[in-house]
Amino acid sequence: MDQTAPITAPEGIADDISLKVKLRRAERKRKLHAMALIAPLFIFTLSIFIIPIGLMLWRSVDNPELITYMPRTVIEIQNWSGEGLPDDVVLGAMALDLREAYKAKKVAMVGKRLNYDVSGMRSLIMRTARKFNRQFPDQPNLDAFLKADKRWSDVKYWHAIKRASDSMTPFYILASIDRQVIDNGEIERVPENQAIYVNIFWRTLWIAGIVTLSCLLIGFPVAYLLANAPAKWANPLMICVLLPFWTSLMVRTSAWVVLLQKNGLINSTLQGVGVIDDPLTLLFARPGVYIGLVHILLPFVILPLYSVMKSISPIYVRAAESLGAHPAVAFIRVYLPQTLPGIGAGGILAFILAVGYYITPALIGGPKDQMLSYFIAYHADSTLNWGMASALGMMLLATTMILFSIYNRLTNATGVKMG
């Protein structure tokens, strides 16, 4: 009945093996079936999400400008030792490249790329290219370059060209942590007045931290109230948490803009009560960002905490109290430790979401309250420095991934669920 069964084996064993084979086949069929069901979404997510993000991150090391538009120069400059100025072979190649890039209207791309490294280099490149295009020098040597622009005698410009000549560059990633490669090839901190990104990173974590802490401090009592309120109260109270949760982000943000204005409800109430004389600056300032973010993220803390508190049996606290523990001691040593999984899960979730927030700080915050996301968007659509946008994106993504793996470990170990 089964050809795969060994002929010499006794009847009973043969059956046994065939059953095993059949089981394995059925199992394999089930697996294939399962994979076939997963495949469409898997392929979709891969091609509409994972690969686009991968390609974007690649831009943080991609260095195509000089290779594409200055092809001769990037080859010849490899032979330059970095001592003194480059020889006539490099200069000849460069003069030719500049003229052709100018004709093809691509020299601005080269100038822009080099300007990231050494400021002022855009004008140097543009000027030289324009002059070489008008009249190409008979002898494209150093004199010709110096005639076009005296700055070419400074070796730092040539180093910048050499650094930008590789197909991949550490430039953007180093810049995202306020570091740069200097002329002798070493990595050092960028000058104080240009060092901004590490500060922004810390600011992002700081804002997210304050917001998370506030969410936990407000969310804990709210969750406790929801979990312990009598049934007829629990539902209407829950709506106070769920309605904001389901209300569009833009609605909540616009509500806060209205409330936080100079003559908005908060200021006029505080003035009416007599707490303050002059209106507080809440909008386009840090307090507004904190208030807006806490409001948006609070449900993400309350819901897991509520789910944990709902499952805590009151008998432990009762037992502790009946054994003579003061209610406060019973609360701190018996009740609180049981809510730790919820505090951890809700807190990290709020932190992850806060770190990546864009819309609310962008609309409620001022220039000094902007977080990483804002600068990613800024480089992507204002300065068009896509390498920098990607490098900062990499920083944000890495932070999120690390936090999420902690979150995952916490929730898997304790089985906390959202909502």
């Binding site: 399962a34 979404l41 948490v241 833009m250 908005g264 993504l397």
Partner: protein, 269 residues
């Protein structure tokens, strides 16, 4: 909550705790309640006290071509992407609960990733990618993008519903001669429907609320409601914004009611 024999100190602490919790709830709900009356204000001031009752701002929004297009776009993109996300997500959830295989954890993480990756990164990745393939400023591009962002919610809700599903029912149906399609549509789907529908609602809400991808990838033709509101808030906040906000709050209430109904139905089963 409070024992009758509690000491005075404990009582004070208890009521302080309740007050903090109450303030927390007020903080959550108040901004949403405050914006509604402003939409009925007769003048354009966005502050209390109200100057009089009027429906002029509603008239303005309903007769405006810009808001009309935005509402139409939001509904179109939202329902198309929710539909795609629901089909793809339900299939994947069925597969994920059906068998264990090597690399399942990685596959799972990949399918869920659009929910975790900060939206600015997704938006930028899609913007560059759509520029290459010519999908920027198209409905197709936005629908595909929102499908990717919404599908994880369907996967999660349907997987959770399938956890309580008795797989023997499928075996019973098959052994009685039903083909896989019949098994799914006649046996499985009716039972997991609450999960599927709430997944679909989550996916719809994700698209309906999404603004960052739209900010980067949409053209003037594809402006959605949140995108239009973003402009309004950024430039000059007018009572028209509070009208749209009020409508969206009503919409959120409806969603909430529907989800609660589904949850109760699921509990009964």
């Amino acid at each position: 909550m409070l024992q009758p024999y509690a000491s005075t100190g404990l009582k004070i602490w208890h009521y302080t705790f309740l007050v903090i919790a109450g303030l927390g709830l007020v903080f959550l709900i108040l901004p949403i309640l405050v914006i509604i009356p402003l939409s009925f204000n007769s003048t354009s001031f966005l502050s209390y006290p109200l100057t009089g009752f009027s429906l002029r701002w509603y008239e303005e929004v309903f007769s405006s071509a810009v808001w009309g297009l935005a509402i139409k776009n939001s509904l179109l993109i939202g329902s198309a992407s929710a539909f795609l996300a629901t089909v793809l997500g339900t299939m994947a959830a069925m597969g994920l609960t059906r068998a264990n295989f090597r690399g399942k954890a990685v596959v799972n993480a990949m399918l869920i990733s659009p929910m975790i990756v900060p939206v600015i990164i997704s938006a930028l990745g899609l913007y560059f990618f759509f520029a290459e393939v010519g999908l920027n400023a198209t409905y197709t591009g936005l629908i595909l993008a929102h499908t990717a962002l919404g599908a994880p919610f369907v996967v999660i809700t349907v997987t959770a519903t399938l956890q309580g599903f008795d797989h023997n029912l499928m075996r019973a149906a098959s052994s009685l001669g039903a083909n896989p399609w019949t098994v799914f549509f006649a046996v499985v789907l009716p039972l997991i429907l609450p999960g599927v529908v709430s997944g679909a609602l989550f996916a719809f809400a994700t698209s309906f609320d999404e603004v960052v991808v739209v900010l980067f990838s949409a053209g003037p033709e594809q402006r959605t409601l949140p995108r239009q509101m973003f402009d309004g808030i950024k430039e000059n906040i007018t009572p028209a914004i509070t009208v749209v906000a009020t409508l969206l709050i009503m919409f959120a209430l409806a969603m909430l009611g529907m989800l609660e109904y589904l949850r109760r139905r699921n509990e009964r089963l």
